[in-house]
Structures are given as C-alpha cells and as structure tokens.
Symmetry: C2
Subunit: 345 residues, 2 copies
DNA sequence: TTGTAAGCGTTATCAC
DNA sequence: GTGATAACGCTTACAA
C-alpha cells in the first residue's frame, strides 16, 4: 500500500479511501491511485483491515462430520453459496464424526476469529457449542438439533418423512415390516420414531427382532438385512433409515432372492432402476446449508431479535419407484453371453 | 490479552510467551497465565498474529467447480485433512464451472492472504492462475493440467484408465464400440484419446457417428445412448467417460432392452448390481486432494526446489462387474405383485 | 525471567 | 480533498 501511495504521489490514507470508493476523493486522484494499484497488482490485506475494523474476519466456520458424504458436501455448498453472496468466506472442517475433534476444531476456529459457526454436531456432548462457552459467537446447528444448549438450528422433517414412507409400505399391504438404520444419530432415532408411530396407528405391532440400528455402512446393512430375510417368518418389507442401509438391504434381497419391498430415507442414483418396489424420502441437503447460513447471517446483522433458538424444519417428499420390470431372459441374454467372456485381471 | 495479562499480574508479552509455550517463562508464571486465559476464555487472535508475523494467514484457498459432486467433495476432504495436520485452515470456494467467477474468486482470495491455492480449473483461460498474475503465490491445479501457465498439478491417469477399460471391452469380443462423454473437459478428452488409441492398436476403426461428447447430465446421456442403440447397426458396447454418462447409457440400454456391455470412468454405487456387464475405472479422489495439498505445503516450506511445474499422475484401476444374473421370473415376481399395488401420491 | 518499544497493513478521527 | 496520527491484537528485538 505504501508503494501504491508513493507511485500515485499521495498518502496511504488516500489510497485507502480511493480503493474503497470513498466519494471524498477527487476523480483525478482516484484514477491515479487505481492505476497505480493495478500496476502493482495490489490487493488490500483483508486481515489487517478486519483487525482495524474490529469486525472479526468476514469468515464463517463450517464444521461437518464427513465431507465425502454427498449429503454434507451439498449442505456445505449451500453454506458457501449464501456466504459468497455476502462476500464472506467459509472455512471448512471435517470432524470424521469425532466429538473430541469437533471440540478442538470449534475452539481453534474461535481463534481464527470466525464470525459464526455452522455445525453438524457429531453427537455426544454439545456444551462446547453453547453460547456460554463460545461467549456469544453465533452458532447454527444443521441436520441435528441442539441438546442442552440454546442455539438456532435447521432440521429435516425426519419424523414426517419416515411416517409417510412407512405409510406407503402399509398401503401396499405389508404388515410385517423391518427397520434398518445407522446407530446413534438423532436423525435415525427420529426416523425410527416415525416408523413406529405409523405402525402403531395402523394397529401393527412392531416386532423388535426386526429392528436393527447398528449399520453404518452398506456391508453391515447387507448382512443385517440378510439375517432378517433369513428368519423363519421374514419381513415382507424393510424401512431403511438411510441410503447406506437401503442399498445394503437391496443387495441382501437380491442375493437371497427374497421378494421384499423397500422404503428409505435419501434418494440415490438408480433408485428407480431396482428390481424391487421402493419408496424414497427426498429432500434438499443444499437447502439445509442455505437456510443455516441465512440464520447465521441474520444473527450477525440484526443482533438477536427472536431471542433464542429458532428452529427451521425443512419438508421432505416421498416418491415411489415402482419395481423395474425384469426383461425376459431370452431377450437380453443372447448378446450378453457373447460379449462377456474373459476379461479380468 | 490485555485482560489476561492484568488478571495474571504480568505484561502482555509474558502472556504471549506463556501461551505459545516459550520455555523462557517460569513454570509458576506460566500456570498463572494459563489459568487466567482459561478463566477468560481467551483465544489469541490469529489474524493479528499472522499480521505481525508477516506469515500471511495459515489458510489455503480451495477452488472447485462443484462441491455437490462427490468427486470434488472427496477431493476437498483430502485437502482439508492434509491442511488440518499442519494446523492450516481451508477456505472453500465453488465456481459452478464458471471461469469468470473463478477469476473473481482467485483475485479475492489473494486479498484474504491465503498462503496458497488448490484449484480445479473450470476450463478456458488460466492466465489468472499463473505465477505472474498471482505474483508468486503458490498454486496447485487438481484434476486438470495447467495450460499456458507453469504450476504444479495432480492428475488422474485418464488416458491409461480409459485404455485399460477399452481393452476390456475388446477382450470381450466387442468390435463396434461407442463413446459417450461430457463436453469440453480436459479429462474427457484424455479419456477419448485413450479410447481411440486402443481401438486403433487393435485395428478397429472408430465410427465417428458413435462418438458423442455433449452429455453433462444423466438425462442427456440417456437420450444420446438411446440414439446410438437405435441405429440400424448399433454398437454392442459403450465406453462412458464418466458415471453420468454410464448411468444414462444403462438406462437407455434397459429401456430399449438392448444387450450392451459398458465400460466407464468413475465407480458408482450399485455398479455391480446392473443387468449388464460393466467395467469400471476406479481411483481415489481424496488422494488427489491430499497430494495437491502436499505439493502446496511443500512449496510453502521449501521454497521451490524442483523449479517448475511438477506433475503427479495418480494411477487408476479397472474392475469388472459381471452382469447380474436376472432372477427367473417365477421366483421373484410372486410376492412382489402382492406387495405392490396402490401407493402413489 | 520479564518488560518496553516498535511495527505488521489497515482505517477512524481530526486537522489542514 | 487530503494528510498526519493513533490504534486494532499480536510478536520480535532489545533492554532490565
């Protein structure tokens, strides 16, 4: 900046003003400054600027459990988009579902002077996210609700979505229905609750041996599903709390050749091409991020109008994918056999 | 910090030293300072620190084309992981494949004093990424090579992967093979080149009417594939340059009941469950991010040892997914029919 | 072992 | 319309 000032033959103060478009500076001076800045490839140092302005940083911290998961990366995109509209930057952090790491990250982030946090809490304690420990730093939780702390959050209608999907199974005549889901997560519990409520409403008793909530990955889901389908009196349909479990269930059903209907949370690629009837609960992960960011920016602007923990619940919708018609063998196999032979290594 | 100093009864300087673990400070003083800091929930301001240190910021900028795409989000995760190991923060930015936006973002990022950039270039001009315009700010390109500028990059073996996958198709006896891919991207061009080379090596002529490079999304891919399959002399196999095109091709093949073998870049969920033989080129997107970040950190540390544009090419591997056996109709349909009836809304 | 002075790159304030 | 001064929160040199 000093150099720009020298080159334009003015003081640093004038450079500062000119660059920010302060109308106080005369057009002639301004253009000289702009030219000098351009020549020198000068970019004002935003950190110094923030320091002086006591306006922490123009950044917000985003903390997610697993960026590799499309759900969270779409959410992250939503946050980025809204932040970018406001000229703010997003610092992303991955916790790998580890609360301890989450705590460290959040602590660290405060030192980076982020102006606020959007967090997908890993589960477990959340006291490090409370306004108390963060002394006033705005926090918005995404996808999972606050527990024990009072902050804003944006959720999915897990309960309602699960209810509707379960209804579809019942409407198709199923009465013996199993449940597969990942462990622990709040969302999973809500979905189970929705599932149970609907069954109860329809006077169907939930057989607890058909409820399996310990499958995080497809492989685990597949074996859990296979176990259920191998029972003497197997379920005729399965509700899966997420796509990992749905895909596992599908594999198991195909492997065991069981004729099972599925319903699940999370739309996924090729869901409509399965050889099973499938109802899927859809939603927009990016919108969660957008709304969370808006909530945060709102806090940043307006102070805290609606006092405490606002809660936004985003709707879900259910789509039915009818079972794909299996092509008759004669039709499709002919050329396949020829086109497939060796080729492995 | 002033408050901490007051509370601990020492000078700010001592607080600074104590907090950074300077051995010069006596244990007694240190613990008093630490206690005071703890009480006050004090976190040193890293921006002020960086400012003083003239060590720009401890942040790196990550610029990707589409964070919602798992490929890029996994890449982003790789960058985040390596950066986090070094205590650095990552600022993510999404260009939505718009070079103009990319240019703005990169410009902006320099103002934020990022110490370096990992960029997945959107395509088009790259001069805003050159060392010249960024005056020395280290840049690493990911997934796409530099053109016209001299910077480090981490690439995938697009060419080799495509070659191998194409070989698999030929090994299975296919001689009339089509190509489907997205437009423009360098990676897509490389894959096409690999495809062509192998065909040429095997004395198979490429029918240019079977080469379609304009499908970005599944729907477009599906109709392009349908067109090819509807030709009087249709291809018996299709090579798809990415998973979008592969999925579109699969849909088209199923819809038209054509018996077609597929090969494609990108592994995807359920790829092994298709009713078609499929060879898939696999790779690790996260590793691209990790390597890119390492390259960048290396520049940050060591100055520039190997002078100019290092290029890392990551390997790919090919997996064959044999065609799924289609269950005989009688076996699976029975209960399906009953379990599926109404249920739509 | 601890404190003092100065400055990192900016901008608000108040003169000129 | 423009410039000097001080300060944002921190750390390096140098002194005590």
């Amino acid at each position: 900046m000093r150099e720009v000032a020298a080159r334009a033959g003015v003081s640093m103060m004038t450079v500062s003003r000119a660059l920010r478009g302060d109308p106080q500076v005369s057009p002639r001076t301004r253009s000289r400054v702009l030219a000098a800045a351009e020549d020198l490839q000068y970019r004002p140092n935003r950190m110094a600027r923030s320091l002086r302005l006591r306006h922490p940083s123009g950044t917000i911290g985003l903390v997610v459990t697993n960026l590799a998961n499309p759900f969270y990366s779409q959410l992250a995109l939503g946050v980025e988009i809204v932040a970018a509209e406001r000229g703010m930057k997003v610092i992303v952090n991955n916790t790998a579902d580890d609360v301890e790491r989450e705590r460290e990250i959040v602590n660290d982030l405060t030192g980076w002077q982020v102006e606020g946090l959007v967090v997908v809490p890993a589960g477990g304690s959340q006291d490090h996210l409370g306004p108390a420990r963060l002394n006033g730093l705005p926090v918005v939780l995404a996808a999972r609700p606050p527990v024990g702390i009072d902050v804003d959050c944006v959720l999915l209608d897990d309960f309602g979505g699960a209810q509707e999907a379960t209804r579809r199974l019942l409407a198709s005549g199923h009465r013996r229905v199993g449940f597969l889901g990942p462990p622990a997560a709040w969302t999973s519990a809500e979905r189970l609750r929705g599932f149970r409520t609907v069954l109860a409403d329809h006077g169907v008793e939930v057989d607890e041996t058909l409820v399996r909530c310990d499958q995080r990955e497809v492989a685990a889901a597949e074996s859990a599903a296979a176990e259920l389908l191998g029972l003497p009196d197997p379920p005729t349909a399965l509700f899966c709390a997420n796509s990992r479990n749905a895909i596992g269930a599908y594999r198991a059903a195909r492997r065991t050749r069981a004729a099972t209907a599925l319903a699940c949370f999370d739309d996924f690629e090729l869901a409509d091409m399965l050889e099973l009837p499938l109802s899927v609960v859809r939603y927009d992960p990016e919108e969660i991020g957008r709304q969370a960011a808006r909530l945060l920016l709102d806090r940043l602007d307006g102070g805290k109008p609606g006092r405490a923990g606002r809660r936004i619940v985003l709707p879900t919708s259910v789509v039915d994918y009818p079972e794909r018609t299996v092509p008759r063998a004669g039709e499709t196999m002919a050329r396949h056999d020829r086109s497939r032979s060796a080729a492995d290594s």
